[in-house]
Symmetry: C2
Subunit: 149 residues, 2 copies
DNA sequence: TGCAATAATGTTATAAAATAACATTTTAAA
DNA sequence: TTTAAAATGTTATTTTATAACATTATTGCA
C-alpha cells in the first residue's frame, strides 16, 4: 500500500503526461478523498477537510476540482448518491477498467472492483436488444459490507 | 396498451389488495408520471402537473405520495438522478422482476427491462467474492436511445 | 349516530446540494 | 514585460430534500 505522498507524486506525473496540472489545492482535495475511507459529497468533503486539515475550500472550487480529478481518472463520481471516491487504482500503471462499485447502504463503505469483459458484453447485448446504446457500463450496486451484513 | 383510466383502476385494485388506499391525489400524481414519458424529479413532476392539469400539489405531499407509490411498486425511483418513473409493468399480473433501467443521457427517455436471472447471479457472485452482500440488483445504465444515438 | 384514533394532506421553515455569473489571482507564452 | 489563458475566489440563486407542526378526511367503534 503506497503512502499518500507516493500516490500524490504518481498522480502528478500522470497529470503532467496528459498536459494537466495537479495544483496544490487539487492535491489537498485529492488527499482528503484518499484519507477518507468513504465516498463523500462535495460538502461532506469540505467538512472532512476542515476537521483533518483545518482548511475549508469554497464549495465552488471543490466542485471544479472534483470535476478535474474525475477527468484525470483520479477520482470517480458515484451518481447513485452524487458522491466522489478516490480511485482504487490511482497508482496503477495498467489501463483503468470499467469500475463497479459496491456501496454499503449501512456504513457507506465503498469497494471498487473491475467488471469482467463477459459481463460488460452481456449488458451491452441486453441494451442493444432494447434499441439503446450503452454509453458507460459503470455499475453502482446497493450492498451490505462484510461488517454490516 | 391500456388506457390511463384502466391502468389507474388496475392500480387501485392492487393497492386495495395490499390494504392500501389509492386516493384521488395519489391517482393524479401517478397519472402525471404515466403521461410523462421521462423520469421526473418531484419538482419537475409538479411543474408537469401544473402544465397538464393546471394543478400544483405542494412538494412535501408529492414526496410523500411518491414514497407511497414506490412502496406499492407502482413507480420506481432512479437513484442515479433521484427521479421517478411509472413502472412499465404497472398493469401486469405477473410478479415484478428486478428492473434494469436504460436511461438516455441526451433526451432523458427511460426504458425498463427485466434482468435475466443468470445476470443477477453473476452480479451476486461478483459481489460475494468481494465480501459484500447484494441488497438490490436494480441496474441503472447510462445509455443513448435509438433516436439520440 | 357521535366521537376518538388514525391516516392523509397541507403549511411553513430550513437544510443541503448544485450551478451561474462575475471578480481576482496565478501561471505560462509571446 | 505584457498579454492571454487557466485556476481559484466570491456572491447570489436555484434546485432538491427534509423537519416540524397544523389541518382535514376517514375509519372503527361506543
Ligand atoms: Zn478507479
Ligand atoms: Zn457496511
Ligand atoms: Zn417496474
Ligand atoms: Zn434519447
Amino acid at each position: 500500500m503506497a503512502s499518500i505522498t507516493q500516490i500524490i507524486d504518481h498522480a502528478e506525473n500522470t497529470c503532467r503526461k496528459n498536459g494537466a496540472k495537479l495544483t496544490e489545492k487539487r492535491k489537498r482535495v485529492l488527499t482528503g478523498l484518499l484519507i477518507s475511507k468513504k465516498a463523500l459529497s462535495a460538502y461532506e468533503l469540505i467538512d472532512f477537510m476542515q476537521k483533518e486539515f483545518n482548511e475549508s475550500p469554497p464549495a465552488m472550487s471543490v466542485y471544479r476540482i472534483l470535476d478535474f480529478l474525475e477527468t484525470e481518472n483520479l477520482v470517480h463520481k458515484l451518481h447513485l448518491a452524487n458522491k466522489y471516491i478516490a480511485c482504487s487504482h490511482i497508482s496503477c500503471a495498467h489501463e483503468h477498467e470499467v469500475p463497479q462499485f459496491l456501496i454499503c447502504d449501512k456504513c457507506g463503505n465503498v469497494k471498487e472492483i473491475g467488471i469482467k469483459k463477459s459481463l460488460i458484453n452481456t449488458l451491452k447485448q441486453n441494451v442493444e436488444k432494447s434499441g439503446y446504446v450503452l454509453k458507460s457500463p459503470q455499475l453502482e450496486l446497493h450492498c451490505l459490507c462484510h461488517e454490516c451484513a
